[in-house]
Amino acid sequence: MNATPLLQVKDLRVDFAQGKGKVFQALKGVSLNIHPGETVGLVGESGSGKTTVGRVILGLTEATSGQVIFDEEDITQASRARRRDLGRDIQVVFQDPYGSLNPARTVGDTLAEPLLGDKSLSPTDIQQRISEVLQRVGMPTDTAQRYPGQFSGGQRQRIAIARAVIAKPRLIVCDEPVSALDLSVQAQVLNLLKELQESMGLAMLFISHDLTVVRHVSHRTVVLYRGGIVEQGDAAQVHEHPQHPYTRALLAAAPVPDPLIQRERRTQFEQARQALAAAT
C-alpha cells in the first residue's frame, strides 16, 4: 500500500446552527486517511455524523474547522471552479436510487454529466464511454435512451454507480449504497462495487449503519459515535476484537440470522449496553 494517503481528513469539525444561538456539533474532530485502492468503512448510527463526513469531502457541507486533503491538495475551501474539476476525481453513490436520478432525463443524459467538463471528448467519445460503462455495470446498452422510471431499484443503483465511475475517478464516497435495496439485490450491488473497486483501483469511503456489510467490503473500519471516532483499525480486528464499549454494543445489537445463536446474543447485548451506559 502507498505511503501517502489519497485522502486525508484532519481534525474535521462541523457545527450546525440550531437557532437561538444554540450550536449542534455534528463532528467533533474527525481524522481519517484513505489510501489509493483502499476501502474504508465508516460505521455509525443516525446522528453519529457519518453522512456529514461524506458531505464535507464532496463539498456539499462546509467544514467549521479542520482540513480535507486530496492528493496533497487542501480542498477544504476549494472554489466552485476547482470543485467542478474535482468532480472527475471524487464521485458519489447515494443511498436512494430513486432520488439520485432525475426522472425527467434519460439515463444517457445523466451519465454524460461527469464528462461534460472534459472538453477533449467529442459527443461520439461520450456515447462510446456511456455504452462501455453500461456494459461494465451489467446493464443493456439501450439503457441510455430510457428513463429512470423504467428500472427497478437495483438497476437504478447500477446506473448511479455507472455515473460515479464513468469519469474514472480515484475516490468514491458511497453513502449507504445498499441499505434501500432488497437482500438479493444488495448482494449483486456489493459484488459490483467490489469488482469495480479492484479492477479500477478505486479508493472508497463506504458509509453504512450495517456492520455486517461494512465488514464484508472494507479493508479498514472506522466507528463513529456522536460526532467522534471511537475506534478504527483493520476491519477484521475491529469486528472480531472490538475495543470500545460502543463498538461492542453495536456488534451485539445486530441480530444474527440464526435463532439459536441469537438467543445467546440477547444477553450479550444487554451486558454491552450496560457497559456503554457506564462508560459514557
Binding site: E113, L183, S184, A187, H209, L250
Partner: protein, 584 residues
C-alpha cells in the same frame, strides 16, 4: 408496499384522452386559424357600414348578423381575434419569462437574492393592477403593447412565487447534489435538471394566466382604451352591444360568447394539464364487488388458534387487466405467538397484513379469502366489519414511527384520543396515558407526554406507536417493518419490548420484515413469501437450519453475514439457476 408495474402513456396522449382538454384545444386552435386567415374567411370589411341593414339577426349574408352601424358582426369578431391573441401572448410571454427567471433563481440560489425577490414580489402584489395599467395607458398614448407588458409584469409576481416553491423542493433532490459533484455549473443544473422538473407547474400557471389576460384585455378595450374605437376588438364589441342591450340583445351573444368560451378554454386546459400531470400518482380507486368464499369453519381450527387466514388472494385492477398480487395465503396464529412474514419488496407481505386491517390501497382489493378471529368468521372483503375490528381487536404499528404521529399534537394528546374512544372518564385518561408510556418503558413518562413528536427520537416515537396500539388492548398486533427505520441498538431494544409485551399479554404478533436477523430474534414461526405466494412456512429453527425451498436457501446465502469477508456473495438468481440446473 409493492410498486405496481404501470407504464403510463405519454403526457400528450393522456391529455388528449380528456374530452374537455380536446374541446378547449380545438377552440383555441380555431381562434388561431381564424386570426391568421381573417381576410379569407371573413371577406367583408369589418369597418364597412351598411346603413340599410342595421341590427340584423344572423342570415346567409351576415352569419352573426349586423350591429347598430350595419357592420358585419362575424367579420368584426374574426378581425378582433388577432388583437386579443396578440395581447394575451405579450402578457403571457412577459409573465412567464420574468416569473420563471425570478422564481427559479430565488428558489435555486436562496439567501439574500431570495429575500430581495420575495420583497419585490410582495410589493408588486400589493399594487392594484388595473390602476397601474390605466396609468400606463395614459402615459403611452393608449397603445395596447405597453398595457399588456405591464399586465405581464404584474402577473409575474404570483407566477414567480409558485415557481419558487416548486424549485425549492426540486433543489433538495439528490440528483442535484450528484450533478454538482459531477462538476456541472449552476446554469447547467438549472437547464438540465430544474426546468424539466417544473415544466408542469409552469404550463398550468401560464394557461390560467392566459385566461386572466383575455378578461383584462377585453376590459381595457371595453373602456375604449388600447385600440382606437372603430377598429374591431372584442371589448369594443361588448361595449357597443351593451349600448343597445334593450332593443337588440342578440348583439351581446357573439361578442360575450367568444370571450366566455376563450376564458373557459384556458381554464379547462389549465385544469386538464394539472390533472394529467398528477394522475400518475393519484389514480382513482377501482372497486369490484367480488364475494369472498367461506373456506373455513371455526370449529375445524386447532385448539388455541386466535387468528386464522384462509385462501387469501389480493388483486389489483387497472382498466381491463387484473393482476394477482397475493395468491391463496394460509396461516394460523396462536395466543402469545409471533409469526414473521418474510419477503422482498413486491412479494405481497405488506398487502397480506393490510388485508386484515381493511387498509388496502386504492385499486387493490381482496378477491377471495376469510379470516377467523377469536372464533368469528370474517369476510375480508367486508370493510365495514374490518373497521370495527381495527384498533380494538387488531392493532398496528408502522415502519415510519414519526410519520405515524401527528406533528401538531403532543404525545399525551394523541394517546388520550385513543383511550377516550373506550369510554374512560377524563380523570382516568391522564393516568392511563402515563401507564401506557410506562408499559413501553419510556423514562419520565410525565415529561414525554407533554412533548411533540419532533422533540423525541425515532426509537422513542416507535415506543409511543406501540403504546398507542396497546391503548385499546388488541388481541393481535400487526407490525409492518417496525424497526427498519431504526438504528440497530434501538432495534434491539424495540424487539425486546415487543417480545416481553407479547408474552405478558398473550398477544399474537404478525411481524412483516425483510430482515432475517429480526426474524431469528423475535419470531416463533416464519413464512417466506415471493411473488405473492407462500414458499414455505416453518418454525424459525427449522427455517434457518433446514430451509426447504431453493429461494429461501439462496436468500439466506446472499446475506453477507454468512459469507467470507471480501469474497463474492452468492446472489439469488445465480443460486436458483444452479439448483434448477442440477435438478435437470
Amino acid at each position: 408496499m409493492s410498486a405496481l408495474a404501470y407504464n403510463p402513456p405519454s403526457f400528450i396522449r393522456r391529455l388528449l384522452g380528456r374530452p374537455l382538454a380536446v374541446l378547449a384545444l380545438l377552440w383555441l386552435l380555431l381562434l388561431f386559424v381564424l386570426s391568421v386567415s381573417a381576410p379569407l374567411c371573413a371577406p367583408i370589411d369589418p369597418l364597412e357600414q351598411d346603413l340599410l341593414a342595421l341590427k340584423q339577426l344572423p342570415s346567409a349574408e351576415h352569419w352573426l348578423g349586423t350591429d347598430a352601424l350595419g357592420r358585419d358582426v362575424f367579420s368584426r369578431m374574426v378581425h378582433g381575434v388577432s388583437i386579443t391573441i396578440a395581447g394575451v401572448i405579450e402578457a403571457v410571454v412577459v409573465a412567464s419569462l420574468l416569473g420563471l427567471s425570478l422564481g427559479v433563481s430565488a428558489g435555486y440560489f436562496g439567501g439574500m437574492w431570495d429575500r430581495c425577490v420575495q420583497q419585490y414580489v410582495s410589493l408588486v402584489q400589493s399594487l392594484p393592477t388595473m390602476l397601474i395599467m390605466l396609468a400606463v395607458l395614459a402615459v403611452f398614448g393608449q397603445a395596447m403593447l405597453p398595457a399588456m407588458v405591464t399586465l405581464g409584469v404584474m402577473g409575474s409576481a404570483g407566477v414567480s412565487r409558485v415557481l419558487r416553491s416548486v424549485t425549492l423542493a426540486v433543489r433538495e433532490e439528490l440528483y442535484i447534489a450528484a450533478a454538482r459533484i459531477s462538476g456541472l455549473s449552476d446554469a447547467q443544473i438549472i437547464v438540465r435538471h430544474v426546468l424539466p422538473r417544473i415544466a408542469g407547474p409552469v404550463i398550468v400557471q401560464m394557461s390560467l394566466f392566459a385566461a386572466i389576460a383575455v378578461i383584462v384585455q377585453t376590459g381595457i378595450s371595453f373602456l375604449g382604451l388600447g385600440v382606437a374605437p372603430p377598429a374591431p376588438t372584442w371589448g369594443s364589441m361588448i361595449f357597443e352591444a351593451s349600448a343597445s342591450l334593450n332593443d337588440f340583445p342578440w348583439l351581446l351573444v357573439p361578442s360575450g360568447g367568444v370571450v366566455a368560451l376563450t376564458v373557459l378554454s384556458f381554464g379547462l386546459l389549465g385544469d386538464s394539464l394539472r390533472d394529467t400531470s398528477t394522475e400518475s400518482w393519484s389514480r382513482p380507486a377501482v372497486r369490484q364487488g367480488v364475494k369472498a368464499r367461506l373456506a373455513v369453519k371455526p370449529q375445524d381450527l386447532p385448539e388455541g388458534v386466535l387468528l386464522s387466514m384462509r385462501d387469501v388472494s389480493i388483486v389489483t385492477s387497472s382498466g381491463q387487466t387484473q393482476r394477482t398480487l397475493v395468491k391463496g395465503v394460509n396461516f394460523d396464529l396462536k395466543q402469545g405467538e409471533t409469526l414473521g412474514i418474510v419477503g422482498e419488496s413486491g412479494s405481497g407481505k405488506t398487502l397480506t397484513s393490510l388485508s386484515l386491517m381493511g387498509l388496502l390501497p386504492p385499486g387493490v382489493h381482496v378477491s377471495a379469502g376469510t379470516a377467523v378471529i377469536q372464533g368469528e368468521v370474517i369476510d375480508l372483503s367486508n370493510e365495514k366489519r374490518l373497521t370495527q375490528l381495527r384498533g380494538a381487536t387488531v392493532g398496528m404499528i408502522f415502519q415510519e414511527p414519526m410519520a405515524a404521529l401527528d406533528p401538531c399534537f403532543t404525545i399525551g394528546h394523541q394517546l388520550a384520543e385513543v383511550i377516550r374512544l373506550h369510554g374512560l372518564r377524563a380523570a382516568q385518561v391522564q393516568a392511563k396515558v402515563i401507564e401506557l408510556l410506562e408499559q413501553v418503558k419510556i423514562p419520565n413518562p410525565q415529561d414525554v407526554a407533554q412533548r411533540y413528536p419532533h422533540q423525541i427520537s425515532g426509537g422513542m416515537a416507535q415506543r409511543v406507536g406501540i403504546a398507542r396500539a396497546l391503548a385499546s388492548e388488541p388481541k393481535i398486533l400487526l407490525a409492518d417493518e417496525p424497526t427498519t427505520a431504526l438504528d440497530v441498538t434501538v432495534q434491539a431494544e424495540i424487539l425486546a419490548l415487543l417480545r416481553s409485551l407479547s408474552q405478558s399479554r398473550q398477544m399474537a404478533v404478525v411481524l412483516v420484515t425483510h430482515d432475517w436477523g429480526v426474524v431469528a430474534d423475535i419470531c416463533d414461526r416464519a413464512m417466506v413469501l415471493r411473488h405473492g405466494q407462500v414458499l414455505e412456512s416453518a418454525t424459525v429453527v427449522d427455517l434457518f437450519h433446514r430451509p426447504q425451498h431453493p429461494y429461501t436457501q439462496a436468500l439466506l446465502a446472499a446475506n453477507p453475514h454468512s459469507a467470507q469477508p471480501g469474497e463474492v456473495l452468492p446472489t439469488v438468481d445465480d443460486k436458483l439457476m444452479d439448483i434448477t440446473g442440477a435438478a435437470a
